[in-house]
């Protein structure tokens, strides 16, 4: 089954880099990598915000926009089912799980957690696995989904295709 890449992986894609090669290989094999809409939002926000300070980031934003608008990747929408699931997950686990050393302020960590919830919800309701470098948090989300919907197939977590 094709997997969805979360933001930890998408943020490592670089023109001519090994992950872009994986994107190209998968697209040419007819199994394009999936990226969730919240990851697109998060990534584009970061590029746009940085572009106001660093002009070269505008080129990066144009490159990334072109890549995600092409047939290289499939974008998974935050649709009805994903929104319902994300709302339930956020209610049962409003803050990031403990047991991991985190970067950023509390509000930033919380914002990141909400995005991870949305990413997991998109991937799971679209029938995909999730590929991430953040196994800890996505494993927690997989466990929560299994608790909310015990008779369904679990959210499977995989690592970077380069790992």
């Amino acid at each position: 089954m094709t997997d969805a890449w979360d933001t930890t992986l998408v943020s490592r894609i670089y023109p001519g880099g090994p992950l872009e090669q994986v994107l190209l290989d998968r697209a040419s094999a007819g199994e394009p990598v999936a990226i969730t809409a919240p990851t697109v939002m998060e990534t584009v926000r970061g590029l746009q915000a940085t572009a106001t300070r660093k002009s070269e980031m505008a080129a990066a934003l144009r490159w990334f926009t072109g890549a995600i608008a092409s047939d290289l990747v499939e974008i998974l929408s935050l649709d009805r089912s994903a929104a319902i699931l994300a709302g339930r997950l956020r209610a049962v686990q409003p803050t990031p799980p403990t047991g991991l050393r985190r970067r950023g302020t509390k509000p930033e960590q919380r914002a990141g957690w909400i995005l991870d919830i949305q990413i997991a919800a998109c991937a799971w309701t679209h029938g995909r696995h999730i590929a991430t470098e953040n196994r800890h948090d996505f494993q927690a989300l997989s466990n929560l989904i299994a608790t909310l919907y015990p008779n369904t197939t679990p959210l499977v977590i995989s690592t970077s295709p380069l790992a």
Partner: protein, 102 residues
Amino acid sequence: MMSYVESRRRAPHRAGHRTTLTVPDAMMEAAGRLAQELGTTVNDAIVRLAEDGVSARQRRARIVAVASERRAAVEQAGLSDALALPSPEQLHEAMLAGRRDP
């Protein structure tokens, strides 16, 4: 005088059914290009394209089946849910709590 004659292309032997198809022009052109690329016959290229299509279709069907099962679980609601509803005020407050709480 020497002459060079290209040997007739041969496709790998396959077990299966023989049939006659009306192939759309666009697919015939794609098959022709693939046959040229692989050094095989147009018939073999058509079969390869069809195999790719079957594989892609089966992959999509597997994803759709898993997604459908999960979506059905997420969107499931029954009469018992409606009968157990709180008051309109309680419901209103609970829905807005999602915006206020951390």
